[in-house]
């Protein structure tokens, strides 16, 4: 009976929804405080954004000379996080390496949150957000395949849907105590690997394809994007893993964490090597195109706002590499976490401001306009990050108990009560 089936599935879903709601609304004091902080940042960001919509993007520091800034920098960085979170799928599913396999679902949830932040950063950057539907056929017109931005819109949304479907399917089935549908999930998970590489490659090509900007117009950009992404994405996951292990019954083997740290060391080596290769080409050939790299590392004339950031990024990346390459150092928990934070910080700087601003400074006609984000930009960006973190927190709050078997469909066992899970 199809009608009975649909009624039944609605009942199943409402049980899941009510249970989830109960989970995310309960928690200890630290959880409540965390949500309050995120909520405050979101409100502050929303107010700043409302002001930006009313007065125009003139409230940012962006101008005709530097027409992209902090928002697009964050967007680029987060595409990398989204891509790398899923790269853990490779060892998990291809080699069936169990310690990592258990945490893949969290990589997918991180990817979902990161893509949401990416799409929000693009939304806050555009001048006419009310016209976003101009991108959506048949109402609008998507300049596909000519515009790489059209490609990016497509792959990011597909990647979002893919991860969303796989993660919710696995969790929902686990909630009902049923195994997930291997025939659907396995190919989709395998597909998510080339798609993860794809979203980041397309995002690199977005900049790479612009001959007007020599700093971006280098074929090393896409590989370098991937290398740095494979550092920053796992850096976040490693910290999340430790938090989960600490505050829930969730068990993650040390072996899994150490393996990921080892992979990060190789990725960071590749990242530094590619940076070095680019720096060699620029400095040795010493053409006029060197001015962008020079602006980032040394400044031009009296303009050197970004120089401290450039060297901070280099120092953090070198530190992270040093810590992760040695098994003795990376097996020390404190140093491991220092390495994670250094990686995150280093890649955040080089891939955000360090990619966008020197790409546009000096501008196409040689003018130097020193961009530095305004308070509005910082508040809006903090708000977007808070939305992403909130999503990730709430999803974890539901996903962790499901994986632990603490949060399951209880209709069959009326006596049982849902477990209370701290954090």
């Amino acid at each position: 009976m199809p009608l009975n089936d649909s009624v039944n599935s609605i009942r199943l879903f409402s049980g899941f929804a009510r249970g989830s709601l109960r989970l995310i609304t309960r928690g200890n004091r630290a959880y409540a405080l965390w949500l309050a902080v995120l909520g405050a940042l979101i409100v502050s960001g929303a107010l700043a954004y409302a002001n930006q919509v009313r007065n125009g993007l003139g409230v940012t520091a962006m101008r005709d000379q530097v027409s992209w800034g902090f928002y697009i920098g964050n967007f680029t960085f987060l595409v990398g996080v989204a891509a790398a979170a899923v790269i853990l799928v490779i060892p998990a599913y291809i080699y069936s390496w169990k310690p990592i396999r258990e945490i893949v679902i969290y990589g997918e949830l991180l990817a979902i949150s990161a893509i949401t932040m990416c799409l929000l950063f693009v939304t806050v950057d555009i001048g006419r957000p009310d016209r976003f539907w101009h991108l959506i056929p048949p109402f609008g017109h998507l300049n596909f395949p000519r515009s790489i931005l059209a490609w990016d819109v497509m792959v990011l949304n597909l990647y979002f849907l893919l991860n969303f479907f796989v993660a919710t399917h696995i969790l929902y089935r686990a909630f009902h105590g049923r195994p997930y549908n291997k025939k659907i999930v396995a190919p989709l998970v395998l597909l998510s690997v080339p798609m993860a590489v794809g979203i980041h490659t397309v995002t690199a090509f977005l900049y790479n394809g612009l001959a007007a900007r020599p700093y971006w117009n280098s074929s090393i950009l896409a590989p370098q994007f991937l290398a740095s992404a494979f550092c920053s994405g796992p850096a976040i996951l490693l910290i999340v893993m430790q938090v989960l292990r600490r505050f829930t019954r969730f068990e993650i083997q040390d072996a899994a964490i150490r393996k990921i740290a080892e992979l990060m060391a190789y990725a960071m080596f590749l990242n530094l090597f590619l940076h070095g290769a680019e720096a060699f080409k620029e400095f040795y050939s010493n053409t006029q195109h060197l001015q962008f790299t020079r602006y980032w590392y040394w400044g031009l004339g009296s303009h050197h706002t970004l120089v401290p950031y450039a060297w901070t990024a280099v120092a953090l990346n070198l530190l992270a590499f040093g810590l992760f390459i040695s098994p003795k150092l990376r097996n020390n928990w404190v140093l491991l976490n220092v390495g994670c934070i250094a990686t995150y910080g280093g890649v955040y700087i080089e891939k955000g401001m360090g990619l966008i601003i020197p790409g546009l400074t000096p501008d196409a006609l040689g003018e130097i306009y020193e961009y530095y984000p305004t308070i509005t930009e910082l508040r809006v960006a903090a708000g977007v990050f808070a939305i992403g973190f909130l999503m990730f927190t709430l999803m974890l709050k539901v996903a962790v108990p499901i994986s632990l078997g603490e949060f399951q469909d209880t209709r069959e066992k009326p006596g049982e009560v849902l477990c209370e899970v701290p954090v």
Binding site: G56, L57, S67, G127, R128, R131, L135, F139, H141, G366
Partner: protein, 290 residues
Amino acid sequence: MPTEDQNPSRRLFNIAAAGAAASWVMTSCGPKRLYDAPKEKLRSAVQEMERKYAAQAGRSVSVSEAGAMPGVQFAYALDISRCIGCRRCVYACVAENNQSRDPQIQWIRVNSMEKDKGVDFSHADPYYNPAEVPEEGHFYVPVGCQHCENSPCTKVCPTGATWTEPDGIVVVDYDWCIGCRYCMAACPYGARHFNWSEPTIPAAELNPNMHYLGNRPRVKGVVEKCTFCIQRTRAGRYPACVEACPVGARKFGNLLDKDSEIRYIIEHKRILVLKEELNTVPRFFYFYAT
């Protein structure tokens, strides 16, 4: 009212039909790219613009919908040896094309360069402000849209809100642009300008002779650029900058007309285009006449 149809498939059909009708209404009646607008639709859109701008300015406004003339390929030439850097072209352009006065938008940027260094943008100064021009030891290179044959800006636009017209003019549909500014990143000449806040023009200074792809008023959050004064040139007139130039450094014409001045210059003078290595194939030539 008694409900007659208890039949689920019939109800489903009704829902589907309503959905289809709604999406048809949205796709066919909603605003669309001016690029795709058929003639009658364009006519009514232009009349709508005239009404709107007239109400805003409190005076009558005409918006032309003149298309490209057959057998016309516009091109521009600028004599670097004549230009004295007076910026009259800049201000004539602002007045003609209804560029925002506050914040200031200018489609032409005049760069002061040192004679010792030659045409070198890394040493150019667009903010030169001496008591008198030309300055000793300097020459001037005004830069606006180069109306590239192989235009990187139109290629990257995700919504197809900017394109090259059949007579070679690169235009923007201000009603379709979403303000992503990808075109600005792609332009090697800094020719595209963004409305960072609501553009303002005193009503008395508004040029009422407009073209739907040219100097009609813009709104906050969209990109604009030089259109070779499409409202003038498609009516057989020179661009405002050509008329304003006191030394005759600016030349404009039809490349396909063998007897045109622009053809003479290309065939007889030493010409160059900016950033030739990028293969943008500009329709804007610089030359040295003396």
